[in-house]
């Protein structure tokens, strides 16, 4: 048993589709301590959601773990049966999804849907569960919770529904909250409120959070660590400051260039990352980002780069850093 809340080692995961095997995760390693906030950043299809979902055994039916281990809070998720994982879901780890408009069942009241998870995992029933549901709604900042608890999802706004989703997720005070693009579908002002709420609740309840997003701006203020994913691999990992002030991978740099910076007086042009995401049915042999990389070298097309470690926990996978090391080593060699 490891000391980590989440300990994923060399996870490989494939989806088997009619078109062939889609290698969604290719050697992903993530470690996270209790109470930490980890941001996973990447574009759609990079494997960020799959990584997080595998912690609660929520991969789609055609998804198969091809190697590695997944450990959460002392449970070996990869070795557990569906029935065993079910006892953890919603209790020790919960999730909020991208689209609050569709994530709640339209035919049941808010209260019913909060109480459902309480009944499943805490044994609270009837009036007790109801009282707890009201309390949870108050906790996530919903006005008039006694009234709201009797309402249906369609009677609430998007921001309120996401608050309800958070209430459901936090009902059993989980150790880990996975937030899968929790603000993408919301208005900008509501986005800020939801992020603020999550931060506030983290302060109160002390759970760990995995924040999945394609938006580096969202993770900056909240996360302790950031993992940048591309084509099923973590291409760069580090503390938030490492990623923002000392990015090493060309993809991370590209992502940072594409965020607008309002502090700068002169209008730096936003630079989009050119090209298409990788076709995961036929993953490239070399670095997956190579075809889109401005500094692409010959070796990038034929070989996958190893990890290059920097100070602290910061590392990246890029031949450019290898090149620097190689040149330095050769220089030292010839100097001898």
């Amino acid at each position: 048993m490891s000391d980590y809340l989440v300990d994923i080692q060399h996870e490989k995961l494939s989806f088997f589709t009619p078109a062939g095997e889609v290698r969604a995760l290719n050697d992903v390693t993530i470690r996270m301590k209790e109470g930490e906030v980890l941001g996973i950043v990447g574009e759609s299809g990079s494997g960020k959601s799959v990584t997080a979902y595998s912690i609660m055994g929520l991969t789609a039916e055609n998804g198969k773990l091809m190697g590695g281990t997944v450990e959460f809070n002392g449970h070996r998720i990869d070795q557990m049966s569906e029935q065993e994982i079910r006892k953890i879901r919603g209790k020790e780890v919960s999730i909020i999804f991208q689209d609050p408009m569709t994530s709640l069942n339209p035919v049941y009241t808010i209260g019913n849907q909060i109480e459902e998870v309480l009944k499943l995992h805490t044994g609270k029933r009837g009036a007790e569960a109801h009282a707890r549901a009201v309390e949870l709604l108050r906790l996530v900042g919903i006005n008039e919770p006694e009234k709201r608890v009797k309402q249906y999802p369609h009677e609430l706004s998007g921001g309120m529904r996401q608050r309800v989703m958070i209430a459901i997720a936090l009902a059993c005070e989980p150790k880990l909250l996975i937030a899968d693009e929790p603000t993408t579908a919301l208005d900008v002002t509501i986005q800020a409120q939801i992020l603020e709420l999550m931060q506030e609740l983290k302060g109160k309840l002390g759970m760990g959070i995995i924040l999945i997003t394609h938006d580096l701006g969202v993770v900056a203020s909240m996360c302790d660590h950031i993992a940048v994913m591309y084509a099923g691999e973590i291409v760069e990992y580090g503390e938030t400051d490492d990623i923002f002030y000392n990015p090493q991978h060309e993809y991370t740099k590209g992502l940072l260039r594409s965020i607008p910076k309002f502090s700068e007086r002169d209008y730096t042009k936003l630079v989009p990352i050119e090209g298409q995401p990788v076709d995961m049915l036929n993953p490239p042999v070399g670095c997956a980002f190579a075809p889109r990389c401005d500094s692409c070298m010959k070796i990038c097309l034929t070989k996958k780069p190893d990890r290059t470690d920097f100070e602290g926990v910061h590392y990246s996978r890029c031949w450019l850093q290898k090149k620097a090391a190689f040149m330095a080593a050769r220089g030292a060699e010839s100097g001898k």
């Binding site: 879901r89 919603g90 999804f97 339209p106 459902e116 369609h154």
Partner: protein, 305 residues
């Protein structure tokens, strides 16, 4: 809600009125009449008969008289069945057809909803394939074929089931099955596709993420959302099946309303045609209102207004 129902019922009256008007004029515009088929009739006798049923008057006046009676719930006298009112005939024949149709509906729902749900949840697996094959075959067999084939196998060859009438419980088996085959298959297919739709919804993922078991998520979260298209389909179907299928009643010689209706059309028993049509129309309209109300109970997003 009450206001909505009242409004719907008023709309229903309007529709029924239009249906009655339409039927009345189409029926009377068709060449021929109720007394032509009786060959031995003298012109005098025909005139006397027409006078008795008020058919000697101008068409529009006949229409007004009929509508006046209709408002009082009086559907008139049957021309072919002497001395009996249409109300009496319907009251006598409807229960037989309704029993048969009601059983067929229950059978179709009891088979179609579970099979469709199972197929959706076992998508692509053996159970799904078997159910799809049967359901697709089921909607390719017209009821006159299923009933004759059933009769050939179980009555003629195996001599297991009675082929005619409705005297014993066993004699219900074949007509009910023949009547229910198509709707049961159709409901299975409908249920499967709507269930697949629901399974793909985000709230099903939410339920799973909460730790809800598959079984419970089917019953609590999926079924209630997926059943809506079935409700829409079954509503009018109840009216059609309970007022009697002509084919089934003819093949199994069951004295029901469907048999009576087609007989009335071919013999031009005008009051009987009108009466049955209006009865069916009102039934369909009532079922549609019930469907709307059921809808609102199932899905709170639907507001009746």
């Amino acid at each position: 809600m009450a206001k909505y129902i009242v409004k719907r019922i008023l709309m229903g009256f309007l529709t029924a009125f239009l249906v009655a008007t339409l039927t009345f004029f189409i029926m009377n515009l068709v060449p021929g009449g109720p007394f032509l088929s009786e060959k031995a009739i003298t012109p005098q006798a025909q005139a006397a008969m027409e006078a008795k049923f008020g058919m000697d008057k101008p068409l529009f006046q006949q229409y007004l008289t009929y509508m006046g009676d209709l408002v009082h719930g009086n559907l008139g006298m049957s021309i072919k069945k002497r001395g009996r009112t249409v109300n009496q005939i319907i009251a006598e024949k409807f229960p037989t057809s309704a029993r048969l149709g009601g059983l067929a509906i229950l059978f179709a729902l009891g088979v179609g909803v579970p099979l469709g749900s199972i197929a959706a949840f076992r998508r692509g697996k053996l159970a799904d394939n078997i159910i799809i094959v049967f359901a697709t075959a089921g909607i390719a067999i017209p009821s006159f074929l299923s009933s004759t084939l059933l009769m050939y196998i179980f009555s003629v060859k195996l001599k297991l089931l009675p082929s005619l009438g409705l005297k014993t419980a066993a004699s219900y088996i074949m007509p009910v099955f023949a009547l229910a085959l198509y709707p049961a298959s159709y409901i299975s297919r409908l249920m499967r596709s709507s269930m697949l739709d629901v399974i793909g919804q985000d709230y099903m993922r939410t339920a799973k993420a909460k730790g809800v078991s598959t079984f419970k998520s089917i019953f609590k979260h999926a079924l209630r959302n997926a059943i809506l298209p079935v409700v829409t389909y079954v509503g009018p179907l109840v009216a059609y099946l309970m007022t009697g299928s002509f084919i089934i009643e003819k093949i199994f010689t069951i004295p029901g309303l469907g048999h009576e209706f087609v007989g009335a059309i071919t013999s031009r028993d005008y009051p009987m045609i009108m009466g049955t049509t209006i009865f069916l129309a009102v039934f369909v309209i009532i079922m549609n209102v019930i469907v709307d109300i059921v809808y609102a109970f199932i899905d709170p997003r639907i507001k009746l207004k």
